[in-house]
């Protein structure tokens, strides 16, 4: 019998990427495990704790703003055909192709002191680079909702707004939340634009860089580990919650 090896070949090729992603994670954790004292000391560093708090706060605020503004936009993109729609689509995806340092410069040139070194600045930078995830996920989520369901809801007496909240939104919700989680994750991993727009108040990702520049690899490693653990824990928890919701 002739065996088909294509899928095994592809799996072998693809596993390179998995290893490539997993390996540095594993290595940094193992190395840090042998340097326990430094980790504990870092966890007691008020500067570090403050920075972690800032990161969490700004990333969460960014995700919420992206939801509030991105969901309506996603709905319009999913439901209406209009002139210039492809242009709008392109604008939504622009942040993905602009280098993040350039994003910082652009924001600073445009809004200058209004966002310089403030929470607003951090959130502004994060929102710019991470909003597309929520917008696109919302659009895809709404596209997957059969428009006829809304039509039926209308004939049953629901206004357009009511049909949106009772039919379209609940059905697209898991897709939208997945997008919001991606937005949150992208926001908390943003450095380039934040460095330029708002070095202070200090966020954990900026602090990692500062410690690396001032004190070297060994000092920046523990914060990195804490940041990774924190981000991954929240990311996985949210994904799990959304996944459970979607299957319910």
């Amino acid at each position: 019998m002739r065996r088909d090896y294509t899928i095994y070949l592809f799996a072998a090729l693809g596993s390179f990427l998995i290893v490539y992603i997993a390996l540095p994670l594993a290595v940094i954790f193992t190395k840090q495990a042998s340097d326990w004292g430094m980790l504990v000391r870092t966890l007691h560093d008020p500067l570090v704790l403050e920075a972690l708090r800032n990161s969490l706060f700004t990333a969460t605020a960014t995700a919420l703003i992206a939801l509030l503004l991105g969901v309506p936009l996603g709905y319009v993109l999913a439901r209406r055909e209009f002139r210039g729609k492809s242009l709008i689509q392109a604008v939504v995806d622009v942040p993905i192709v602009i280098p993040h340092s350039v994003v910082g410069i652009m924001l600073l040139v445009t809004f200058s002191s209004a966002i310089l070194d403030s929470y607003t600045g951090i959130i502004a930078a994060m929102l710019f680079v991470s909003a597309p995830f929520t917008i696109n996920a919302a659009r895809d989520g709404f596209l997957a909702v059969d428009e006829r369901l809304e039509h039926v809801a209308r004939t049953l007496g629901a206004s357009q707004m009511k049909a949106f909240f009772t039919v379209s939104l609940p059905m697209a919700l898991s897709s939208i939340l997945s997008g919001a989680i991606m937005t949150w994750a992208r926001a908390i991993s943003e450095v380039g634009a934040i460095l330029i727009v708002a070095y202070y108040p200090k966020t954990a990702q900026v602090l990692v860089m500062e410690y690396f520049n001032n004190y070297g690899l060994r000092s920046s490693r523990p914060i990195s580990v804490i940041l990774v653990v924190m981000s991954l824990t929240i990311f996985i928890m949210l994904r799990w919650l959304v996944g459970r919701e979607a299957n319910a």
């Binding site: 006829r148 004939t155 049953l156 007496g157 206004s159």
Partner: protein, 344 residues
């Protein structure tokens, strides 16, 4: 009740051309047309999902052309039923009532009542995707009827069902109509649905309503060749059935199966045998008839006959016509087997 006045609409590859018709209170009106005729678009225009390019729509005399779907007082069941997949059957049915802020106990009572009639009481806690096609259809009907709409719009409600379920549900639909007394506009490509359920029929071809009338009129007197071709030249005999006998005007016709009450039976013209003398055959039905008209269609001839006020059409070959000397006013015998009849 519903009055549609010269509606025109272009949308994608579909078009409606100056459609006008009326659905009367309590009536079951069927629009019959092949797929692609624009039937769904017509329903969507009436439901208010699209607005017409031209023409007006009236409900009980009031112009509703510009009203939003939720202000029109009608319920729409699309072809795939469009049940809300994230809600249970109960929540699906209660949707319209909740929006109307009907008290909870009242909602409960209404849902029990309608699900009893539709035979879906045992499904109320289930999610739509766990239901069979027939069950989904019943839920869709319950959801639409529970708000007591002035008019029910149905888009090919039986098209997605297997043949057995379809036959059963068509029968049930007649019963539900009797029990719930709703007015319906039903679009379909199925000849069988039109004959079984329709009080009146409109034949729609290429976005135009070619002919409207009672089922018997439309089937026995197609307005033109196109309609006749689409309908398949069937003879539709209408009458009162008692057991195996169908009384249609003066004729007593033997049926292949037992039936009661007002029924329609279909008979293909090629199944009718003409003879000059009564003949002894296995055919259970033989009647004297008078030739009303003869139409030559190439090698075939269509003979229109009248027997005790019942109109029949038969096909014979040209040579038989000449041999038998068939012409207008001639008396002949028509015979056909009971098994050639299809009872709707």
């Amino acid at each position: 009740m519903l009055e549609v006045k010269s509606i025109s609409k272009d949308w994608k590859e579909f078009r409606l051309r100056e459609l006008s018709f009326e659905v009367k209170n309590g009536e079951y009106f069927i629009i019959l047309g092949p797929s692609g005729a624009g039937k769904t678009l017509l329903l969507e225009v009436i439901a208010g999902i699209f607005s017409p390019d031209e023409g007006r729509i009236f409900m009980n005399g009031a112009d509703i052309t510009e009203l939003a779907p939720e202000e029109r007082g009608l319920a729409y069941i699309p072809q795939n039923y469009a049940l809300f997949p994230h809600m249970t059957v109960y929540s699906n049915i209660s949707y319209g009532l909740k929006i109307r802020k009907v008290p909870k106990s009242e909602i409960d009572r209404k849902i029990r009542e309608i699900s009893d009639i539709l035979g879906i009481s045992h499904l109320l806690h289930r999610k739509p995707k766990t239901l069979s096609g027939g069950e989904q259809q019943r839920v869709a009907i319950a959801r639409a009827l529970v708000i007591e709409p002035e008019l029910l719009l149905l888009d090919e409600p039986f098209a997605n069902l297997d043949i057995q379920t379809r036959g059963k549900l068509i029968g049930e639909m007649k019963r539900w109509r009797k029990e719930l007394g709703f007015t319906a506009l039903h679009v379909t490509h199925s000849f069988e649905e039109a004959v079984s359920l329709g009080d009146r029929v409109g034949v729609m071809l290429n976005g135009q309503l070619i002919q409207t009338g009672t089922v018997r009129d439309v089937f026995s007197r197609p307005a033109n060749e196109e309609v006749a071709k689409f309908l398949g030249f069937e003879n539709i005999i209408e009458g009162i059935a008692e057991g195996r006998i169908l009384k249609a005007n003066g004729l007593e016709i033997e049926l292949p199966e037992e039936a009661e009450g007002r029924v329609r039976a279909g008979l293909r013209p090629e199944d009718i045998i003409l003879s000059l003398e009564p003949i002894k055959t296995s055919a259970r039905n033989e009647f004297k008839a008078e030739v009303d008209a003869v139409e030559e269609l190439g090698p075939l001839v269509r003979v229109r006959l009248k027997s005790e006020g019942v109109e029949l059409r038969a096909f014979i070959t040209r040579s038989s016509m000449l041999e038998m000397g068939i012409e207008k006013g001639k008396e002949v015998y028509v015979s056909f087997k009971a098994s050639a009849l299809h009872v709707f």
